[in-house]
Symmetry: C2
Subunit: 240 residues, 2 copies
């Protein structure tokens, strides 16, 4: 049976950077399911018309079409119940929903502020104007100004926002408990997004959150590590 | 079999305000377990010596002594597995640990800043000096100054910190999913703490988080609602 995931890509089709798509890729790997990923760009909304909406990830699994990372995770859990569980029971699914919203509503906006200025030059030419315009409207200022204070911002981010993550990872090896689960992939998506798009380092060496991120990079045969980090991007400071 | 919970109280022994003790009281009620609660004050550490530490909640269940709200929840889940589950499976327990840490590390410090100045006059006389000294040391300023900006602080608290809670409660009736679980009690503890200690209102009418708080107040025969709200406290502004 063919299985396809539409996956956000930069100009380089190997640069897969959507935090939401990474949640779905790791969820598929967790279930042991093969998938062909198809590179997709922001301005290719027409190509997703079959899914009834215009955003990735979109999973096509045989006859089924599922859009939205949370919906995909729930669909995989219900469709493949005999494979390793993403949630570890109904209570896990329910509370993972809070964690999913914490990532979307609290973690992502902070990560976005720190890396958004690095993303535009990595995009396909047709995507760049769309990206700059939509993001400058969201933040109400030029992208370079959004990220300009990141050296200070990252200190507060590490100390305050990551505090509950750090405490949890001092108590158990994974956010999912004794083994990785969807909770880990939800939070990891944000760090993978930053890793693939920006040379700016969100985490300090020695932070238990950094050690955990490294362990997620190694999961499922190093799936996430196989997408290279953005080490070669010019520093923000050099471009402004 | 006798079962006792040592529970933080104000000068009025009916004023039970510890967010951690409320987690345990609701967990016991969730399991359908009777318990005698014993009022305890901050400066009565000697009375807890039998537990090997000096903080509440402490649960004494027959021969067993368990301290710390998270440890009590896990102990209840394991000791009474045939009663309604607090976590809904191992995945629920693991991810609830993150939510527990989010409440401790992110939610409580913000609530404390807004209500701490209201707490001291409610305490037993012997507790007042201890409370003021320890909290002023923690915040590095007089209690009245800590809470002085709460009219502005609460706006950001509602908009940003509560955002993931609000999103989740728009998707499912309880943080625990289709039914209340320990995740609900963890977060509710913070709102009950504020409700019992302060007339300052953390939530706006119409906020789905306020509607959820009301529903938790009604659970288990209105257990949490039976402890009166602090409506009679003089306004902070009138005392400074």
């Amino acid at each position: 049976m063919s299985r396809t995931l539409y996956d956000l890509a930069g100009e380089d089709p190997a640069r897969r950077f959507s935090p939401f798509c990474w949640r779905s890729r790791l969820a598929l790997a967790h279930k042991g399911l093969d998938v062909e990923t198809v590179p997709w760009r922001f301005t290719e909304r027409e190509r997703l018309r079959f899914s009834g909406q215009g955003k990735v990830p979109v999973l096509v699994d045989g006859e089924d079409v599922v859009a939205d990372s949370w919906a995909i995770a729930c669909w995989l859990e219900d469709r493949y119940p005999d494979r390793p569980s993403l949630f570890g029971g109904e209570g896990g699914r329910a509370v993972s929903r809070f964690l999913n919203n914490w990532a979307d509503d609290a973690l992502h906006p902070q990560v976005a502020r720190m890396v958004v200025a690095d993303i535009e030059p990595l995009l396909a030419p047709a995507d760049r104007a769309y990206f700059r315009e939509s993001r400058e409207q969201r933040f109400g200022m030029p992208l370079e100004r959004v990220s300009a204070d990141r050296a200070e911002r990252v200190q507060v981010f590490r100390r305050d926002l990551l505090h509950p993550l750090r405490t949890t990872l001092g108590q158990q090896p994974w956010l999912g408990g004794e083994e990785p689960r969807y909770a880990d992939y939800v939070v990891f998506g944000a760090f993978q997004w930053a890793r693939v798009c920006s040379a700016f380092e969100l985490l300090e060496e020695g932070d238990p959150v950094a050690a955990w991120r490294d362990r997620v990079l190694d999961l499922h045969g190093g799936l996430a590590r196989a997408t290279p980090a953005c080490g070669a991007a010019p520093a923000l400071e050099a471009r402004t």
